[in-house]
Subunit: 151 residues, 2 copies
DNA sequence: TTAAACAGTACCATTCCAGTCCTGATTGAG
DNA sequence: CTCAATCAGGACTGGAATGGTACTGTTTAA
């Protein structure tokens, strides 16, 4: 568990396909065929990505979609946020005041810090990294942790 | 989005309550009252936690629950796994072979690496860290990233 | 023997998600 | 100017998952 939505997964697949030729414009149907994602689903995902500004659309005959930025400038955090809204592990991280326990909840602040760490990890990976030429590299990411120690 | 389940959130609240006096035994009703989580929900969560081995239960009159290990030895990754199953951002990370796109999917391996990074972040935070005495400390976590560079 | 307390299961209502379809607006080409 | 290609936006539906709740059984201490 702790899954991203399927549509978010499809979004990464579609965007990665576009990133492979990132100044090309693709029609939704073309992208669906290349990515092997169902055409109606592809169209739905691309609309969301366009609304979020990750891809640019051109309407009309000869229209299509292209990446709005360079692959290295689009992060997985961007994609998740575009498809699912703001990243937050608990409701209270995103919708302040939505949880009746806020006054006496001891873990709220800690979940907020964890959420920030997760988002940082997702922001460290870009579409360029997702291209299928995997060679590994380890990079250190700073993760907030609560502990009785100095900053 | 990218939420943990509410029950997982409740689990952290209950466990944190227990961690505050971690060699004490609590009845489910007592914990519910202290944590202000509904009693039936509390009972349900504690059963899951007991099955996962994070808490130990004693049945019968005078029974109850206590932490199975020291708070510093129980991580948020443990709690999430206990409540929601193995941590994985996409289905194919957890259930190999469940996705029809496995042969031609270029992002699968990268999602696996991202999932591992997320899990590492969750494993870096323990119940002891969740106790409401927040003083921040930054620690570096190694996060796998795919990139055209050396290992 | 009895009451306290956990164990296991089953159930339901609600919400959410994935997938599809339809209609409308825009644009290039003939 | 007309038509076809293409995106935009919204509505709808079936199914699954979540979250709560309740009921029955088992164990244990007094």
């Amino acid at each position: 568990m702790l899954r991203i939505a399927k549509l978010t997964d499809y979004a990464t697949v579609l965007l990665t396909t576009m990133a492979a030729e990132h100044d090309t414009q693709f029609s939704a149907a073309d992208l669906a065929a290349r990515s092997r994602v169902e055409a109606p689903t592809t169209a739905k995902v691309l609309k969301s990505l366009a609304n979020a500004g990750l891809v640019e659309s051109r309407r009309g005959a000869g229209g299509g979609y292209r990446l709005a930025r360079a692959p290295a400038a689009i992060t997985i955090a961007d994609v998740v946020a575009a498809m699912e809204g703001p990243i937050g592990m608990t409701e209270c991280v995103v919708d302040e005041g939505a949880c009746g326990h806020e006054g006496h909840c001891g873990v709220q602040a800690n979940w907020r810090r964890i959420s920030i760490a997760i988002e940082a990890a997702l922001r460290a990976v870009t579409l360029a990294d997702m291209l299928p030429k995997p060679a590994l590299r380890r990079i250190p990411i700073r993760v907030l942790r609560t502990d009785a120690a100095t900053s």
